[in-house]
């Protein structure tokens, strides 16, 4: 079997060795060391574009996934018979491994960002859908009765009572979906859609520094989104004191 590393270098990391062997970099002889600060300082710029690409893919996927899952959940909330079939459908989408999913779409949408966003949004459906349904189901019947007694219509009850009370569950689903989307988005490098995976794949797996920097950026991104969502939750549910988990 041909070494997989050769292909990795040829396809996405072509410029990596070129830059690293140009002779101006301090750590090239010590590739096995865990982290090379000098290289990191000189090369941090190269992570700019992949980080932006990564962010774009994640944000678009979450927005699209949330829109679809939210609509499905509202539909299923009104027609309870649809609940299980939709759970099964989103579950199947979630079970197909993302890498397989990318390439199954290949004959349809080809390589690139569109395929990445389709797959990643499909991935978020299950968790967002499930949590929204759960949140709506957890609203006490007595609360809805009280609203009805005040003369609320069904539509008003949904938007002014049920959904606000379901916000913590919905946000919890979004947090999980966002964290896993940020992680899975590293794989879109396999379909030439860029992102931080480029720096891992392109490092040809013999230079830990390059991989660790990408991992650190991803970790920061996960934390940032988590804090953002917690803040949104705090602002949208002022009646509830939020304890971060």
């Amino acid at each position: 079997m041909a070494s997989p590393f050769l292909i990795a270098a040829g396809e996405v990391g072509g410029d990596f060795f070129h830059e690293r062997s140009s002779g101006t970099l301090p750590c090239q002889a010590k590739e096995t060391q865990l982290f090379c600060w000098d290289w990191a300082r000189e090369n941090i710029d190269r992570y700019g574009t992949p980080t932006v690409q990564h962010l774009e893919i994640v944000v678009l996927s979450i927005v699209i996934g949330f829109t679809i899952a939210f609509a499905l959940a509202l539909l299923a909330h009104r027609r309870h018979r649809l609940q299980s079939p939709m759970l099964v459908a989103t579950g199947v989408l979630y079970t197909v491994p993302s890498i397989a999913f990318f390439f199954l779409l290949l004959p349809v949408t080809g390589f690139g960002r569109d395929t990445a966003i389709i797959v990643l949004s499909a991935y978020t459906l299950q968790i967002i859908y499930r949590n929204t349904i759960l949140g709506l189901a957890n609203v006490p019947e007595s609360t809805k009765d009280a609203a009805r007694g005040l003369g609320f219509t069904d539509r008003q009850i949904l938007w002014k009572v049920e959904l606000p009370l379901a916000i913590p569950e919905i946000i919890a689903g979004l947090r999980v979906a966002t964290a896993s989307t940020i992680a899975i988005a590293t794989l879109v490098v396999l379909i030439s859609a860029g992102g931080l995976g480029t720096e891992m794949y392109g490092s040809n797996f013999n230079f830990p520094t390059a991989i660790l920097i990408a991992v650190a950026i991803i970790g920061l991104m996960v934390l940032a989104f988590d804090l953002l969502l917690l803040t949104v939750q705090r602002l949208t549910t002022p009646w509830r004191k939020v304890r971060p988990q």
């Binding site: 290949l106 991989i211 996960v222």
Partner: protein, 236 residues
């Protein structure tokens, strides 16, 4: 970055799975076909089972125990949240870079990905058990270990199995990129796309998807076999 390979088709991919096809880099030697597909499928299943078993051995006792004593919630939930945010590609890349390639290194790395969901779900599953049931068991003179084994675990099975299924999915998915670290799985068709062509790529994707759905189905079946009939009546 353009990729110049024959356009993939589902028909071509199915053909690739069963009959060896021409390749543009092997100098006339045919690639793919049923024997190769089976070989890679078995490799994929092997590494998956090994990793899942390792993850279970580590995560299940810890999760059940922490749930039983009711401590370490931050630890269990923290592991779960962090586990979800680990990029699969980073795990494979770091293992290949820092530790080494081959089954012996890759299986434990994949197991790490499976630990998070199994640990969290067994913790949560045990915590959700009705305290009255545990109290009753203690009153009947059961030892703590017996309570875990005969009361808490059976009642927590649906949640625990949910974690096992999630762990299995992430392990099967990540095993797809294991060829990058020298373990031959179905991902070989995907990673070495210049050898196998786009039909091979698609064939790999089809086989991985089928494998994931099959294993998920089998685990769902196992879950319903393990769940006591009494619980099923309640949860229908």
């Amino acid at each position: 970055m353009s990729v110049h390979l024959p356009f993939a088709s589902f028909g071509g991919a199915i053909e690739f799975i069963f009959t060896p096809q021409e390749s543009n880099v092997t100098g006339g030697k045919k690639v793919g076909g049923f024997d190769k597909s089976m070989e890679l499928l078995i490799g994929h299943i092997e590494v998956t089972i090994l990793a899942l078993a390792l993850a279970l051995i580590v995560a299940l006792p810890v999760g059940l125990y922490l749930g039983h004593i009711g401590k370490g919630e931050l630890f269990a939930v923290g592991i779960g949240n962090a586990g979800r945010a680990i990029p699969e590609l980073a795990v494979i890349a770091l293992v290949a870079t820092l530790i080494g390639i081959g089954m012996r290194n890759v299986a434990p790395a994949l197991a790490i990905l499976g630990i998070a969901p199994i640990l969290v779900n067994s913790y949560v599953g045990v915590r959700q058990v009705d305290p009255a049931a545990i109290e009753a068991a203690r009153g009947m003179g059961m030892s703590e270990l017996a309570i875990i084994r005969k009361v808490e675990l059976p009642l927590a099975i649906p949640t625990v199995m949910g974690g096992v299924r999630a762990g299995a999915i992430v392990i099967i998915a990540t095993a797809t990129i294991a060829p990058l670290a020298g373990v031959e799985t179905l991902g070989d068709f995907i990673i070495n796309r210049n050898v196998y062509g786009e039909n091979g790529l698609l064939a790999g994707a089809i086989l991985v998807a089928l494998l994931a759905l099959t294993i998920e189905g089998l685990l769902a079946l196992l879950q319903s076999r393990l769940t006591s009939d009494g619980l099923k009546l309640k949860t229908v």
